[in-house]
């Protein structure tokens, strides 16, 4: 899933991705190599946050057993 400008840059709010990536960073690299729109969205991962099954996580986190991955910019609630 993608939110805010990450969603706009990639062009879809969510998609099904079959991957053998072991970590979030591996998935980012895999998507970035696939198409320019992903590379553009993931150009600076320090500006991004990731949630695994709706819990904030690190980019080094393993993906084993994870069903839902979400990428988004730092949150601006309140």
């Amino acid at each position: 899933m993608y939110f805010a400008w990450v969603r706009e840059r990639i062009g879809v709010p969510f998609e099904d991705v079959q991957t053998t990536a072991e970590t979030v960073s591996d998935l980012v690299a895999e998507l970035s190599a696939r198409e320019d729109r992903y590379a553009a969205a993931f150009a600076d991962v320090s500006a991004l946050r990731v949630a695994l099954d709706q819990e904030l996580a690190d980019f080094s986190a393993p993906l084993a057993g994870v069903r839902e991955v979400a990428f988004f910019p730092p949150m601006t609630g309140g």
Partner: protein, 145 residues
């Protein structure tokens, strides 16, 4: 406690009155965030959120506050969707026997809601729309707790 994530407008005064009842109440602290037009150009604000995670994240923040302070009740309302200038975006209220707990918990809730609840603000002016960038000062505020 009550956590509401909604696109509908709400009446902060009526919510606060309804919240302020009960036995043994000594202190109520509330904060209401309003859509602000900083330089007179804002046409509207759009708030996107991550449905599902939003409710879980806010509930976790509220649970943390309840564990840290002596609170009788907590209310969190946060809107999403299109908001006009002057409209309430969100409100937090805490209820306690003691003033210090009510103040500290409300402050804590606001700091965490700003940086850990999955909402994203987009501002629309005559020149177009831009996503509001998170501020370092908001992230740094979390280290206070």
């Amino acid at each position: 406690m009550s956590v509401r994530v909604q696109d509908a407008a709400f009446d902060a005064g009526a919510e606060l009155n309804a919240f302020s009842t009960g036995d043994g109440v000594g202190a109520i602290v509330s904060f209401t965030g309003i859509v602000r037009d900083t330089d007179g150009t804002l046409a509207a604000m759009e708030i996107e959120h991550y449905s599902g995670m939003t409710e879980r994240a806010i509930q976790a923040i509220v649970d943390d506050a309840m564990a840290r302070w002596e609170l009788q009740d907590v209310l969190v309302i946060h809107r999403f969707g299109r908001l006009v200038v002057g409209a309430p975006i969100m409100m937090v209220a805490t209820k306690s026997a003691h003033r210090a707990d009510a103040f500290a918990a409300a402050d804590f809730l606001m700091d965490y809601l700003k940086s850990r609840a999955p909402f994203w603000k987009k501002e629309t002016t005559a020149d177009g729309s831009t996503w509001v960038a998170a501020k370092d000062v908001d992230e740094d505020a979390l280290s206070r707790w």
